[in-house]
Symmetry: C2
Subunit: 446 residues, 2 copies
């Protein structure tokens, strides 16, 4: 590792261990060390060295992943990009930015807002996750019900391949069809095809007025799911549509006392950032009432709105207080959202597992979080059995195993159910084109 | 070819020749025959047979392509999908449709409209092109300035690979990140990786009110380009923003007499389909005046709107009356649209070539059409020299060779300028994964 610039390599075992984990319970191995890349050249040097010595490399952004995708194994090197934080260009006229991979998601958004623009993809983790990590997982977020996922904001990439060659993909223009869509191939590839060292991303006009926000409470989760389906079918185009179940609300209430009513089994929070947002929010409110909401309110002040969205953003931390978490991420066609909710409830009951569910409901993307005893090396059998039920059901309903968190290591055992042998074969073939030695994040994603 | 069902194979030389051409001047070779596939099984049988006998296969939709991508060479087989026209499913609740590849683009849109939905991607050719062809070229269109290109509406595909294996890609859900993005890889691959036999596409809510439309006339193209840049930068989010130059307007006027004024050197047609579309259209109108428009008008009736859009849709046919056409398709960052327009004008003057330009201006996507003498086997040297100038300039401005028509055979000689050797190498590698014998549309796209 002497090929690397001095001071960029960490080998202290405790420090290395902290870079070998993500936000899951997955236990890492013992990596050789961590490279803190400060430039593309550092990335090239690391990958050349790793290729020469056949050392596995685990690219890493902020390590906020929920699929074990950046956990590092024995004898590997963690290649951390989080020091590469330059916003190299921000063009209001072309509505694009060119950024290094370590830029924190919310920092890019804030920089864009100074020009009346925004960076749309906003995973709940946006204050801590990196753009590189978002690209490598094709992260979704709260706003993506209206503005799409990270893929929809990625125009072009600079990628260092496993052997150190530099690949430019895509473009700076809004459209372009020269050659195969390599940009799309890297987005969501979880660090298995190359290391992203620069990205050209699309910005969008920030809405001129603050969004109009409503909240609705329901006696049953199914009713809330039906309200979501009705709102989407009515063409309301919400810019946010989040669902929280009773277990999640209780966890938040226990922690922060939000005055949860006994009969409330689900809460829906929605926004419209359209020019006539207030009208749309009231329309969404009415559709909630039509679908059995026990309480609805349109927010009357920015502060109230902040509080409502704050409740949603607290969900993950509140659940972590309950125990170890297996965070799942199924996505189903919107019309069967109520059925999927019923299936999750049934799985919890059948296997006696505590499941708290939040959902990017407008996309049909549910996060059932399975709570289990802290300190166990992995989730107990009944948790896996319940997860298995949930996955099987999602696939039966025409859904997918993962809407936005990725496959990582945690979902690999179910992959074959969704992808089938031909898809798996061609994916292995593609992997071999980019990384013939198999040194890039082995054992992940495919 | 006896493996194929009877009556599905055409071998009459004249008929075969008509299936061997697209809408370019590219002269085809002499294919062995044409298979009119009626089902996926026909596609599988054709590809198995072709693999066994190492016969090149040229997939074909409606043959409306403008890059020579579906022209067929000596000894190949044309595999026409245009008989596979079933809309297999249309789910208003999930806002998706599942269709066979031969469905005509506008037919799908009409079917969706019956449910208050639309199929957004609308190439000018939408009454004659197929969904399969649109997917294989990642077609753009008039509405894509607001709703994105074909890629943005493609959720999942069924593809038959070169050896006859069937691959399912993607999903029915709005989001999903299981495995690499194979759907995106096939979109825009111009029939070189596999044959699309079914597609799950996203529909969108059709706007509730008819769009508000404006037209503006300018003394110079550059001014019109500046107006476009101003409109986009003001966040007007037009649902259509088309630019026509003097030469195009003259061609239309000669044919259909639209009362073209002497001083008019450019026309801009724009629409907003927002809830407050009328207000937005007036705002766009004002920005045109601010940028030097000599005449502006907001359309006052659906009939007037039809006429305005009709002018745009006539552009291609009007130009074909002038001679043979080399239709180009550069796309540049929006802010440099005026510079690109100047460069096109300079190239026309320098090489003494007639160039008529229309543009999907809101995307920075320009179609300079180079007119040359009919009956020539290929464009004369001065046309290629002018095209070369245009391409070089587009790339210098941070643009791309092709915004939506694809590479086909016509743009291959410039590919290396844009893509660079590493990208070309990995693309060849990917091609080999899907089509190791190289039988699928050889010599195209990459
Ligand atoms: C509280 C909380 C809320 C969350 N909410 C959401 C949410 O709403 N939506 C959502 O999608 N996710 C969410 N996540 C998951 C996570 O934040 C995202 O997956 C995020 O995109 C990961 O970014 P990261 O920088 O932390 O990447 P890491 O976790 O470090 O890495 C993730 C993957 O990307 C790869 N990678 C990272 N950088 C690069 C690079 N430069 N080049 C190549 N590969 C790279 C890694 O190898 C790994 O495979 C949440 C997580 C938490 C803890
Ligand atoms: C008047 C006119 C206006 C046009 N306007 C536009 C426009 O606004 N925007 C735009 O993008 N294009 C436009 N075009 C170009 C053309 O219509 C598009 O490229 C269209 O997508 C081609 O569709 P097609 O069915 O005719 O495909 P074809 O021309 O038959 O084939 C195009 C490519 O797709 C491949 N292909 C076709 N079907 C399949 C399949 N099922 N599986 C795999 N590969 C397949 C072929 O091999 C070929 O490489 C225009 C053309 C004309 C003549």
């Amino acid at each position: 590792m002497r090929a690397l610039p001095e001071g960029r390599v960490l080998t202290d075992p405790d420090v290395v261990d902290s870079y070998a984990r993500d936000r899951t319970f997955v236990e890492p191995g013992k990596p050789l060390g961590v490279v803190l890349a400060a430039s593309r050249d550092d990335v090239v040097a690391t990958l050349r060295w790793a290729s020469e010595h056949r050392v596995p490399v685990v690219p890493r952004g902020a390590g906020t992943g929920l699929a074990g995708a950046s956990t590092a194994g024995d004898g590997s090197v963690v290649l951390s990009l989080h020091r590469m934080t330059a916003i190299k260009e921000l063009s209001p006229a072309d509505e694009i930015a060119v950024v290094e991979p370590g830029v924190i998601t919310a920092d890019l958004d804030r920089a864009a807002r100074e020009h009346g623009l925004m960076y749309a993809p906003d995973p709940s983790s946006y204050e801590i996750s990196t753009i590189g990590g978002n690209l490598a997982t094709n992260a979704g977020g709260l706003r993506c019900v209206k503005y799409g996922v990270t893929r929809d904001s990625a125009l072009g990439l600079e990628v260092v391949l496993a052997d150190g060659r530099i690949l430019q993909t895509g473009r700076r223009t809004m459209k372009g069809v020269t050659g195969y869509d390599l940009t799309g191939l890297f987005v969501g590839s979880e660090g298995t095809l190359g290391v992203i060292t620069s990205a050209t991303v699309r910005l969008r006009r920030a809405p001129a007025v603050p969004p109009a926000t409503f909240a609705a409470e329901f006696g049953s989760l199914r009713d809330a799911g039906a309200a979501v389906a009705a709102i989407m079918a009515a063409g309301c185009q919400p810019s946010l549509m989040e669902l929280l179940d009773r277990a999640t609300l209780e966890a938040i209430d226990d922690w922060r006392n939000i005055g949860l009513e006994p009969g409330t089994n689900a809460m829906l929070i929605g926004q419209s950032d359209a020019a006539d947002g207030q009208v749309v929010a009231e329309r969404m409110e009415r559709l909630c009432v039509d679908n059995g909401a026990s309480f609805v309110a349109v927010s009357s002040s920015p502060q109230e709105t902040e509080e409502l969205i704050g409740v949603r953003r607290m969900a993950y931390d509140a659940k972590e207080r309950l125990g170890a978490c297996l965070v799942e991420d199924v996505c189903v066609p919107r019309s069967v959202l109520p059925d999927m909710i019923t299936a999750i409830e049934a799985a919890a009951a059948r296997h006696d597992v505590k499941i708290c569910t939040v959902a990017h409901a407008g996309d049909g993307n549910l996060h059932p979080v399975f709570i289990f005893e802290r300190g166990l090396p992995e989730p107990p059998a009944n948790v896996w059995a319940a997860a298995d039920d949930v996955f099987t059901h999602a696939l039966e309903l025409g859904g997918t195993l993962t809407g936005e968190h990725g496959v990582g290591v945690l979902k690999r055992r179910w992959l074959a159910l969704e992808s089938g042998p031909v898809a798996q074969e061609v994916q292995q073939g593609i992997k071999a084109v980019f990384d013939p030695l198999g040194i890039l994040n082995p054992g992940k994603a495919i």
